[in-house]
Structure formats: C-alpha cells, structure tokens
Amino acid sequence: MTRPTYPIRLYPRSRLMSRTQAATARPGAMSRELARDRLGVPAVLFFVLAGVAPLTVAAGVIPIAYATTGLTGIPATFLVIAVILAIFSAGYVAMTRYIRNAGAFYAFISAGLGRVTGVAAALVALLAYSFLQIGLYGAFGPNAQAEAAAHLGVHAPWWAWALGAWALVAVLGLLRVDITGKVLGVLLTCELIVIVAQAAAGLARPAGGHLSFATLSPADLTSVGFGTFGVLAVVAVLGFVGFEQAPVLAEEAKRPRRTVPAATYTALGMIAVVYAGVSWAMAAHNGTGHVVAAAGRLGPGLLFGLAGSAFLSQAAQWLFLTSLFAAALAFHNAVWRYMFALGRENVLPAALGRTGGNNIPKTASLVQSATALAVITAYAIGGWAPMENLFFWFGTSGGLGIMILLAATSVAVIAFFARDPRGENPWRRLFAPALAALLLAGIVVLAVQHYAILLGIAPGDPAAWALPTSYAVVAAIGLGWGVVLKARRPQVYATVGLGAHAVTGQAAPAAPAEGELR
C-alpha cells in the first residue's frame, strides 16, 4: 500500500500566529466558543463537595470511629488534616497544569517517579477506591434495614438491602448514569443544612450545661500515645476523600490556574469546619468522657439525636441513606473510570478499555459490580458485622490507601519539578510537597503500626496486618508488571498514566492559555 499524499500548501507564515502570540490577538469566534460552558469556582466546588458525601461521614464514619478506636481527638484531627492536605495541595494543583489525566493519582506518580512506580500506584488506587466503594454497602444495609423495620414494617436482613442497593448501582453503572449535578446539589445542600443544624443544637445543649473545648485541643491528638494520631488521621482523611477530584475538571475550568486551587482550598476549609464542628458537638453534647460509650450504644444515632428534634432526626436518617447510595454510585463510577483508563493504556486487559453501545464501558462496570457482589455475599454467609467489619474496616483501609497515594504523590511532585521548575515558586514545587510527604508518610507508618486500634481489635488479629499488607501485595504486583511492560511492551509502557490521551501519546496538555478564556 502506498502512502497517499495531499497537496497542502500552507499560507505564508505571517498569517499564522503561534498560540503564545495569540494572547495579544483580538479574540475571535473560536475563543468565545471554547470559553462557552466552562466551569467557574462554584461549579467545581459543588462537584468536589458532592463527591465528599458529608452525611456519610458525619453520621457513618465519625460515630463508629469514636466507638471503635475509643479516641476522642477526632475533632482536632480534622483541623490538623485539613492543614496537611492544604500543604499537599500547593504542589498537587501546581502540577495539575502540566500533566494529562489529572485527578488520577497514578498519573502524577507516573510523571514524577516513573512509570513502573506509576503502575504500582494505579493498582493501589484501584484497591483503595474499591475498598471505599464496597464498604458503603456495609452501612447502607443495616441502616436501610432499621428504617424499613421502623417505618415500613418490612423486615429483611441487612444484606438483602445491601444487595438491593448493589443491584441499583450495577444497573445505573451500566446505563452510565451519574446522579446529575442538580439532584446531587439538592442532596448536598440538605445534608449540610441537617449537619449544621444538628451540630448547632448539640453545642447549644452541652453535657452538664458547660461547653467543653477539650476535643478540639491538640493535647487530645496523642491522648493514648503519639501513635494514636496515625489512627485518628486515617479516619480524618477518610472524611476528606473526594477533595482530590478538583483537577479532574481542570480542562473544563474557566481559568484552571485559579479555579482549581480556589475550589480545592475552599472545599478543604468547608469540610474541616463542618466535620470538626459536628464531631465536637457530639463530644460536647454527650460529655467528652462519655462520647465513646454513647457512640457504641447509638451508632449513627449519635448524630441524629443531637438536636432532640424528631423531624430533624428523621430527615437526617433518610438523607443518610441517600448520601450512602450516592457515595456508592460515585465511587463505583470512580473505580470503573480507573479501570477504563488503565484498559485504554493496555496496562490492564484491553477489554476493560472497550466500550459497548452508547460508549458505555460495560466490562469495567461489571467487574466492579462482580467484586462488590462477592464481598457482600461473603459477609452475609460469614455472618460478620456489616457496620464494623465491612463499612468501617473497608472504609478506613480505603483511607489508608488514599494516604499512601497522597504521600507518594507529594514525592512525585518534588521529582517532577526537580527536572524542570517550569517557573513555579519553591514553596509549591519543593517545600510544601516535602513537608506534606514527611507528614503523610509519618502518618502512614504510625497508622500501620497501630492498625489494631484503628479497627478496634486485638493486636494479634489477622485483619490488623492483612488489610494494610494488601497494599504492599498489589504494589509489588504493580512494580513487577511495570518492569515486564518496560521490557516486553515498550509502546504500552510509554503511555502509562496518560489515560484518555494514551492514544495520542501527548504527555502534556497544550500550553496553558489563560488569556484566551476570558
């Protein structure tokens, strides 16, 4: 076959300005068209906060964390973690502008620390988000069971409800349904109103008539030894998961350079205040010395009962269920996105990167649904406690995975800018990520050492080492696979971390063109 050629004679150079020259040119119809439908800070912020699912954390994670760990430093930890994540974000959002597939940690790690490490990070991320997604069924099941028994007179075991939610997520996943911005926005607003109202009412009625600030004190962070901070930090990071998603929208933002950082920092601040406030209210309302016992007794009721209002409590309980479901669907979509991107890169089997009718990645979606079904079935047959052993264990294990990825991403940011500073200042490219890497790595080590406290089990229990070790195992598999790809399939290796852009092989987006998008 001969290569056909076409007679292209381009216009003289004088007519053809480069992109950089264009910043000064009169914006034409094209730049107006490109700027259309771009997202501003409120839209990106909304997207990030909706992914965080605040009521899932306020009613689900916080009470069970009090009960399981027996630690009261949770409110202070939320504030400390927000600061650490803000330091982390300085380098993270700076690097966002220079890479493809931003929003996936392994893209940062591939670009900074090399593609072999990137493959390992991809598998760690896949496992972490899978833990987070499947764990949510462990909270949805028993809470739906309780609501249905109390109000609908329906008595079915927790796993029947969990399987119902699973089936709906599986179908919506196959139809490629994301809960739309408007629905999620209404849910998010209602969730925040309920949480703030409950917290304010709880603080207005403190135990013994005296408002205690003890749980907000830094002294409470290390109440049972320094190591407990690692445990608390994993719980707190679990609450923040979702904040890392703002860079996903970088290519759709009005001014990526400003929109993404502004949304990220605002989200961190809002999440920190809401979570610290509501967990402080729980401790203050029940008494710092009694909150652990109360959490064990009441579970999510620790939040619902704060205001003493039957209406608010009922609203919170229904919203808790919708929040859990929305989070399960959001994480389901996050997991298949990872699988699809890795399938497109041919790092995972190419079948995961194929789409069926209507461009729906059926295989990736079905694989995640099958995994979730297997876990729910195993818990139902094994008779294990869904709230503690599924929701909290899987949730915190997912949180640990995210923490590992945050630490590795910080190191990747340093390495990336060490090769070429690209005009970024030393705080963003070196000091902030170095500080974040040290703090986050320290937290990971402390958490792994005290994992039994985190899970609320005896130190010798197999779960205390098996769950953290699972990350080491997939990371080792990833490293091995990365080396194989490098040696045997260099064309695949070359595109690791590029996601949708694996096909073009273009590692960097077109030069940032701030001036064009006014």
Binding site: R9, L16, A29, M30, R354, G357, N359, H501, A502
Partner: protein, 222 residues
C-alpha cells in the same frame, strides 16, 4: 418510517453513497432503520467533527501543521465544508485539532444530517418536538452501505484511504463493537496496519478524535 415516506423519495440506485466521509460515518453511527444514535451524543458529535476535518484534509481544503489546523489552497462547493473552511480562515490564530473537535462537535451532527437529507438519504422523523430533531434513513440498505464499504476497504489489498479513514474514525468514536459484528476476525489488527499508512494529517485527526471520545467517556458531566 412509513412505507409512504419511503415511496416519496428517490429510488435506491441513486443513493449509491454521497462519497463524503462525515455522511458515511453519520449513517454508521445511527440505526439503519430507526435512525436512533448508537453512540452517546457527545461521541457522535466528536466522531462527525473528526470525519468532517478528515474530509477537508482529503479535499486539500485544510491541513494540519504542528498539531494545529490551517487553511489549504482548495475550496469546496459543499455548503457545510465551505462553512468550516470559512471558520478556519476567519480565525486570527491557529487552533489545535482538539479545539476544533470540541467546537465543531456541538453543531456538526445536525448539519451533516441536513446535508444527508438534502441528498435524499434522510427524512425528518415525525412527532416528539420536545426531543429535538431526529432523522430516519429513507432506505435501510443504503444506510447500511457504508458498513459494507468498510468491509471491502479493510479487505482490499490496494488501499482505499477513504475507506480506511472511515473505519478508523468509526472505531475511534466507539463503533468498534458494531463493526466487529460484520467484519471477519483479525480485522482490527488489519485496520490498525492500514491506518498506519494514512497521511499524517489524517492519522492526527483519528488519534485526536479517539482521545476526545475517551476523555468524554471519562468526563464527569455528559
């Protein structure tokens, strides 16, 4: 479509294909009888935008230099093509292929459908004014013909650049599974081999279309 509507329009022999890439891709991307899209709306738009750019490259009306779209020396009599060339020449600067795909994808599906309707291949579907304009093929066999053209292009030894480009663009926007139903096994590998021999500008449009469609699958908003 009603039998009456079919009778009103030109008989099949005249509908031997418009010879335009975007027209063929439109027909492959929609059901040959109902006219319903087989892809997500965004993927249809991106695929047709890519096909329109490829059409103009083959006509010598535009070229791609350093990843950006530039006007070439030739003009087109076709209104849709002339409109796009006008847009390219009117811009004070050159934009990357990706940007043109993004912008053209919003309007191209309706425009290509209009062009096909003018040529007698589609008629407007009746009813449902709130769902936007939908088009139905006049003749299901003619609507299916581009798939047959792809089969012969991939099977042919002497290279049919237009057929190969059409097949590669169809695969890029997510029609691979549909084509696989009609092609012999191993066609995908043969297509990739054949596409590697295409003009670099065409290859650039194909890979950028694929990347834009993949990114749309991964995008959080539809």
């Amino acid at each position: 479509m009603t039998p009456k509507a079919r009778g009103q329009h030109a008989p099949a022999p005249r509908l031997a294909g418009t010879g335009q890439l975007a027209d063929d891709l439109y027909l492959i991307a929609h059901h040959e009888r109902t006219g319903k899209p087989l892809l997500a709306p965004r993927a249809v738009g991106l695929g047709l935008a890519g096909a329109l750019l490829a059409e103009l490259i083959m006509a010598g009306a535009i070229g791609i230099a350093v990843g950006t779209v530039a006007a070439g020396p030739f003009r087109s009599n076709d209104a849709l093509a002339a409109g796009v060339i006008g847009q390219v020449t009117a811009e004070p600067q050159r934009y990357p292929v990706q940007d043109w795909l993004t912008v053209l994808a919003r309007t191209v599906p309706q425009q290509v459908a209009g062009r096909l309707a003018e040529a007698g291949y589609l008629v407007p579907a009746s009813g449902r004014p709130w769902r936007g304009q939908r088009w139905v093929p006049v003749d299901a066999d003619c609507a299916f013909a581009p798939v047959t053209r792809i089969c012969s292009a991939i099977g042919s030894a002497r290279g049919d650049a237009q057929g190969v480009t059409l097949a590669a663009l169809a695969a890029a926007c997510g029609l691979g599974a549909r084509l696989a139903l009609y092609l012999p096994p191993g066609s995908r590998a043969r297509l990739d081999q054949a596409a590697a021999w295409l003009d670099p500008s065409l290859r650039e449009v194909i890979t950028q279309t694929q990347a834009a469609v993949d990114a749309a699958v991964l995008a959080h908003r539809a």
